[in-house]
């Protein structure tokens, strides 16, 4: 509970990794689906996408890298992967089964 400015925006600025502005969504995937604690999850992601751990929460480095890796950026650019397209690439990069990606493949027979 709490208003969006006082609670959700505030926590994101004070403590959050930044979601897809940075690599917060990627680190969160390793926590959620592999039960990795924060340091292990950050190291795993950094290793898989070829950056240092401090780079993971840097919006400048990650915006460029996310566009290069085609895993989705906040400010859309034409031709850059969006939604499920980006998750196909994330699953491959992180060597991780993503539930909806597996379902998508099954549905369309790939």
């Amino acid at each position: 509970m709490g208003d969006p400015m006082g609670m959700h925006a505030a926590h994101a600025i004070v403590s959050g990794m930044g979601g897809m502005r940075t690599a917060g969504d990627l680190v969160a995937r390793m926590q959620l689906n592999r039960g990795m604690r924060i340091d292990a999850a950050k190291s795993y992601v950094a290793d898989k996408i070829g950056v240092s751990v401090p780079d993971l929460a840097d919006s400048v480095t990650m915006a460029e890298l996310r566009e290069d890796l085609d895993i989705g950026v906040v400010c859309e650019a034409p031709g850059v992967a969006k939604g499920i397209d980006a998750k196909f690439n994330i699953a491959r990069l992180l060597d991780l089964d993503i539930n909806c990606v597996s379902m998508f493949k099954e549905r369309v027979g790939i």
């Binding site: 509970m1 709490g2 208003d3 969006p4 006082g6 609670m7 959700h8 925006a9 505030a10 926590h11 994101a12 600025i13 004070v14 403590s15 959050g16 990794m17 930044g18 979601g19 897809m20 502005r21 917060g24 969504d25 680190v27 969160a28 995937r29 926590q31 959620l32 689906n33 592999r34 039960g35 990795m36 604690r37 924060i38 999850a41 751990v53 401090p54 929460a57 895993i71 989705g72 906040v74 969006k82 939604g83 499920i84 980006a86 998750k87 994330i90 089964d97 993503i98 539930n99 909806c100 379902m103 998508f104």
Partner: protein, 349 residues
């Protein structure tokens, strides 16, 4: 020694001397330590908190290297609740693309598994579409809310009517029936949203609000879902620091649930297959925030140290050192956020 503008647990501003803040920090930590039989904060940690309260900054933040992942409860009601008429999909997009959310959560406005059961047929295609258009990992979330299974909201005799009449065995039988109904609903909803909706995980929020029987139901549901879908993410957020003994004898894996504190709760969650645990430490409104913050961090630190899975502490309205108000003041929220993450070495909030 100057004065410090602090707050009470209900958010009211209060002038305190440094000596009073120091005393409240020590007493709050001691309260948690004595209740849960865990170590109090060290003198260095008390000094860190003291320094946090001395600072005049309106907003403070964690060191870069300690930034963590955020998860949410009832996320697709947050914007709507501010009287902004946007859809669930639009709320997910706002969180992902405007509010820096590391995770997303699709939910029903009536945020209990029993109520969700009736609208699963609508939320499954909602989830199917949400996973196509979003990138961050996405939960489906609801509360176990065991109370909804007893009269007048459900079919089972209400234990709160039976216990005062000294009908203890019947009350325990009621809890057993409520548990069976709740497990069935949680497993049904979780299975539908994961297997057919395509979500990444299920969030059990405000767990154990009805006490030990509810905690048992959630643990069993998590265990069943983990066995069915080993790759499923399961987050279990709690409702308070102490498991109320409403049944008083119910056990999970040979451990009596009544009276467990967060550092003990997390161990059972690990056994059940939970992948993210959320301790919740309630605010005591008539104590100061320094007292509440030190108390919450003492419980949460012990939990984080005991855990082998990620810990996302609940730092919302009235829990985790955040005052019990709908519009949390930034000075209080940012201090609670920073201090919990840095001292407890949290994986998320």
């Amino acid at each position: 020694m100057g004065n410090i503008v602090a707050r009470m647990g209900d958010g009211d501003r209060v002038d305190m001397t440094e000596a009073e803040v120091q005393q409240d920090l020590e007493e709050g930590s001691q309260d948690a330590a004595e209740r849960a039989k865990i170590p109090p904060l060290t003198s260095d940690e008390i000094a860190y908190l003291m320094e946090l309260y001395r600072r005049k900054d309106r907003v403070v933040g964690v060191e870069d290297s300690k930034a963590c992942c955020l998860s949410y409860d009832n996320q697709t009601s947050k914007i709507e609740r501010a009287h902004i008429p946007v859809s669930k999909f639009q709320q997910l997009a706002l969180f992902e693309r405007c509010l820096g959310a590391d995770t997303l959560e699709l939910t029903h406005i009536d945020y209990s598994f029993k109520q969700v059961k009736h609208v699963v047929i609508y939320d499954k295609p909602n989830m199917e579409q949400a996973v196509l258009s979003t990138i961050a990992p996405i939960f489906y979330g609801a509360m176990p809310n065991l109370g909804l299974y007893s009269v007048p909201d459900g079919p089972v005799a209400n234990p709160m009517d039976l216990i005062p009449a000294d009908r203890i065995d019947e009350a325990r039988e009621s809890y057993a029936q409520m548990v069976e109904y709740a497990i069935a609903d949680m497993v049904y909803v979780g299975s539908q949203l994961y297997e057919f909706g395509g979500c990444d995980g299920i969030n059990f929020d405000t767990t154990a609000a009805s006490g030990d029987a509810e905690f048992y139901a959630a643990l069993k549901a998590a265990e069943i879902l983990h066995e069915k879908y080993p790759a499923m993410g399961i987050e279990m957020g709690m409702s308070g620091e102490f498991i109320l003994g409403m049944h008083a004898e119910i056990e999970y894996d040979g451990v009596r649930l009544a009276g467990l504190y967060p550092h003990e709760q997390v161990k059972l969650c690990e056994k059940a297959g939970v992948t993210i645990f959320g301790p919740a430490i309630n605010i005591v409104t008539n104590q100061s925030l320094p007292w509440n913050l030190a108390r919450s961090i003492t419980f949460t630190k012990a939990c984080s140290e005991a855990s082998s899975i990620p810990v996302h502490a609940n730092l919302g309205m009235g829990v985790g050192g955040v005052p019990l108000v709908l519009h949390p003041p930034l000075d209080a929220l940012s201090r609670a956020s920073k201090a919990h993450v840095e001292i407890c070495r949290l994986d998320g909030l």
